[in-house]
Symmetry: C2
Subunit: 114 residues, 2 copies
């Protein structure tokens, strides 16, 4: 009996020990503990989620909505604590993508030439 | 120095040993080696990809396109070899989702209450 959970949990534990993970955790705490940064971030995130949901329902975004999202994103990124957090998120995302790339590669290969 | 690749490769190797992975591999080979099944599947997959691309570009699908996709999917699923492959894909997808759920959980938790 193969227990894949042992390997998943091991990987999850190692991921938590990476500098990228630790940097992100610190960056999130800095945003959380600063009222202004926290507000800018949650505002941007809430708008983004609302508009993404709309898009996933097959609705096109109005130009006004798109511009408001862009502006809110711009405002958030001008905040150094949020910018640092977004950059840390990207570094962690790269690891997650790398994990997925390696994991799904043998599955994708099954379909080669099909 | 943390070498996360050791853990990723270990997990990838274990995944390849699961019954779900082996069942999928056999199911894909059965589709590949049967001309009729292969044609039905690749036809469905190609249409699905084309329409998904359209949707990702923010274009809405025409009702005709949607119905054609549904019909091609229906035809494909009436083929027992393809149906078995799609079911095997779902079983493997569940494992991949479970891996991702566990891996990203500590990242998502960072944002709790934000
Ligand atoms: Ca401040
Ligand atoms: Ca046949």
């Amino acid at each position: 009996m193969i227990n894949i959970y042992d390997d998943i949990n091991k990987l999850e534990s190692t991921l938590r020990q990476t500098p990228e993970f630790k940097t992100l955790k610190e960056a999130v705490e800095l945003v959380r503990s600063d009222e202004e940064s926290k507000k800018l971030f949650t505002n941007f995130r809430d708008i983004q989620m609302k508009l993404q949901e709309k898009q996933m329902n097959g609705e096109e975004l109005l130009e006004d909505e798109y511009m408001y999202l862009q502006k809110t994103a711009q405002l958030a990124q001008q905040n150094p604590k949020i910018l640092a957090m977004l950059e840390a998120e990207m570094a962690v995302s790269k690891i997650i993508e790398e994990i997925n790339r390696i994991i799904v590669k043998p599955i994708q290969s099954m379909y080669d030439g099909l």
